[in-house]
């Protein structure tokens, strides 16, 4: 049972081991209870357990008296958009995102298309643990139907926000690696719609993931080879459910996940959209540099978790938002991390400049180092509290210290961030500095401080 993670972000586990039919039925029955019946949209990514999970979710939702609309295999941001723009009371995305194929998860979505925040998730979990479920009588059961156009409507919404004439004028050749995931049909579809030529790999949704479905640099070798082989102007890698995006330049180089939000920010600020930029606490500080270069635009930092970024973007009327892991959201389209929208915006940016590599080269870059220390969850928070009590290190500017979610110390061109993983028994330490040596030193220092305190 140790692989089961029942927490704020949903219920996640390994199929055949911890994410059992019982857990899935109970969790979705709890969600149906939480939304008090009403219409719920569901979708799934392409992993082989999707169908099994899907049927268990249906059973739980229907039993609670929900009307269920099934979007089938479709990107999570398309589901979130459909929930947001319909009268649905919520949604469940069946996807373990970038996790390996043996995992799956249920991610609960509220009526405005955003993931549940921690207070809402707490209510849902209370219902789940109390097992006090809404049970519709036979004559109150609702039907179940399919929606096969939500994915296309999502593409429409993206295309409507882009300058397709500009993009089309460049006749760009774009390589995509869809990892046989939920974007396999939609990524080529969007590219054609906005006037790009496409070379696509790994678009068989009934085949296994050809590599880990996380668009991190180390998983991009196939795409990099494809870009080089085809002479593509850009390459994009998707994760299994379409929230994160990885980027490859025309020379086959992969600038890393943190570059995705930098490119998105550069695009939106260049266009002059009003409102602040919202990123989480561990996203690269290059975002602040880009915002400064565009006339001291405001950057708001939030806690870790898509729900926090989305909610902050909504409340502060942000122009763009995202995370260093490759997920970006564009409030004019959606309040979800959206790899398809991100690809579209990056292509528009490239279309207005010389080339992707040149845009990347024009943006500031820092060295980031990440580490994780195993620590039982129930000790981890206390360790952080003791770390807080020790106060700022000498190099940090106390005025920039952030203690709301984890601990972040910062000064000018460097920062370190320590937090408890929400899903695994780990304390994570992340640092960024001008050089690799400096960021590694920061991580080492904090790892040893924490080891003392555990």
């Amino acid at each position: 049972m140790n692989s089961l993670r029942i927490a704020i972000g949903g219920a996640r586990g390994v199929i055949g081991e911890s994410l059992t039919p019982d857990v899935i039925v109970n969790y979705s029955h709890a969600f149906g209870t939480y939304v008090e019946g009403g219409r719920v949209l569901i979708s799934r990514d392409t992993r082989p357990s999707g169908q099994m999970v899907h049927h268990c979710v249906l059973a739980g939702l229907l039993a609670a008296g929900c009307e269920v609309v099934d979007l089938g295999v479709c990107p999570t941001p398309a589901l979130q958009l459909a929930v947001r723009t319909s009268d649905a009371v919520g949604g469940i995305a069946i996807t373990a995102g970038h996790n390996p194929t043996e995992w799956n998860a249920l991610k609960p979505i509220r009526a405005d298309g955003i993931f549940l925040n921690s207070a809402q998730a707490g209510e849902l979990l209370d219902i789940y643990h109390q097992r006090d479920f809404r049970k519709a009588t036979w004559d109150a059961l609702k039907p179940y139907s399919h929606d096969v156009v939500a994915g296309l409507q999502h593409l429409d919404a993206i295309a409507a926000e882009l300058d397709t004439d500009l993009i089309r004028s460049r006749n760009l050749l774009v390589a995509v690696d869809c990892v046989n995931g939920a974007c396999s049909e939609y990524a080529p579809g969007l590219l054609e719609r906005i006037g790009c030529r496409v070379v696509a790999m790994n678009t068989e949704t009934d085949q296994p993931f050809p590599h880990q479905p996380e668009p991190a640099a180390e998983n991009l070798s196939q795409l990099r080879a494809l870009v080089q082989a085809t002479g593509a102007d850009a390459g994009f890698a998707f994760d299994a459910d379409g929230d994160r995006l990885g980027v490859v330049c025309e020379d086959g180089s992969a600038p890393g996940e943190e570059m995705t939000i930098c490119l998105a920010t550069e695009m939106i600020l260049s266009r002059g959209d009003p409102g602040p930029v919202v990123v989480n606490l561990c996203t690269t500080q290059a975002v602040e540099d880009i915002a400064a270069a565009h006339g001291d635009r405001e950057v708001i930092r939030t806690g870790i978790g898509q729900a926090y970024v989305s909610e902050q973007a909504l409340n502060s009327r942000a122009c763009v938002a995202g995370e260093g892991s490759g997920g970006c959201l564009f409030p004019r389209i959606n309040y979800a991390n959206d790899s398809l929208a991100t690809m579209g915006h990056i292509l528009q940016l490239v279309a207005g400049r010389t080339s992707l590599r040149e845009v990347v080269a024009s943006l500031p870059r820092y060295a980031m180092t990440k580490a994780a220390l195993p620590c039982r969850t129930h000790n981890a928070f206390s360790a952080l509290e003791r770390l807080r009590e020790e106060g700022e290190p000498a190099w940090a500017d106390p005025a920039q210290t952030e203690l709301a979610d984890g601990i972040k110390y910062r000064n000018r061109d460097r920062w370190v961030y320590v937090r408890v993983s929400a899903t695994e028994p780990l304390i994570r330490v992340i640092a960024e500095a001008p050089t690799q040596g400096e960021s590694e030193w920061l991580v080492r220092e904090f790892l040893s401080a924490i080891r003392r305190l555990i």
Partner: protein, 456 residues
Amino acid sequence: MPTVRTLKTGVSGIRGVVGESFTPQLLVGFAQAFGTYLDGGTVVVGRDTRPSGEMARNALIGGLLATGCDVLDLGIAPVPTIQHTVRRVGASGGIAITASHNPQEWNALKFIHRDGVMLRPYQAEELLAVYYQANYTLVGSGRLGKLESDPGAARKHLDEILDLVGPDKELIAKRRFRVVVDCCNGAAAGLTQPFLRSLGCEVIAINNSRDRGFPRPPEPVPQHLGQLEAAVREHGADIGFAQDADADRLAIVTEAGVALGEDFALVFACDATDPSEPGPFVTTLSTSRMIDEIGERQGRQVLRTPVGEINVVEAMRRHNAALGGEGSGGVIWPRLQLCRDSFAGMALILRGLARRGGTVTEWKDSFRPGAVVRARVDCSAAEAQSVMMALREAYSGEQVDLTEGLRVVWPDGSWLHVRPSNTEAIIRVVAEADDESAAQALRDQALEAIAAHRGR
């Protein structure tokens, strides 16, 4: 108030009230238990038209796939189709989602063995043990079961009936029967009309929708068949057939628009049995003596078992029966399959009517006159034991059969059967005699004996 008491788990399946005890947790649990029990292979899943069927179907599919079983989903399908499909595709088992003749708010699961027969009691005990233990086999994501559907399953089932009727199809078609069928908006809706047309009948179908809910209580007993009686008269039909929600039971309305007693579906089917099909008749201790009359006429033995489809089926198998079934309208034709099948029943009865000529009323009147009456008495299982002991003493002077409860046969051929129910806290009383009042007298005598014993 705890509502679990509306849940009935037992050797004949599980049954509960939707919104109370028929929960997705229960269903996904039993699906995993059944998948664990079968240890892989294909499971055929079908349901009747109850609205809760969709929820149950999803829970079963999810639970079965998780145990590594493949699922062949028939959607809405008659129970005999599900049983037929299990054998046809070589499945490991099947699950029918139907509460049969129970009201809308109930639903139930019936588990089918790889031989197409409902789980025998010892197999059901195995399944319950797995469920209670709740330690299910769950496979990794690479070995999960696959889901397929088979929209042609009912067609293949009914085609096999037509094949078995064979050359007699011509005989039936010649009569150009006008038939009214009441599908109760159940699993047979949309299937019975084309099936009977293939037999050359002119068919008027009422309550022939899959999504309108039951128009009448689904149990096909005479008091529920007023609409069918009227339709038969209105259309001047030769016969009316009524099916229940899952199409295993059959009832008959005469050309005069009179619903016959529950026993007649089996009686006619027996009478229509081809002399070329050898073997005895098998029915329950509570079924009409007309079966014995037919047996004598055809020179066949009649074997009687305790009430319950599985008891009849097991005896039929052991004795290579020609035909069998229950007085409640369940006709089992072993050349097709060892389960109650209203479609097989219709085919046999139409064949019989074609062969003998005349009307249904004339056919009915060809039997020795008689009447069957029934009663039920609320009684706990514990008390029922002592009641039965007392009754055995009370009737000790008569010719008694103690196979199940107490069955008394008098020299004039009238009989009485008293038995505690296996599923409810009641005692059931059935009596048959030459006329209604004589049958009522036998029944009332038994009821008085019960009341007298309990009054002490």
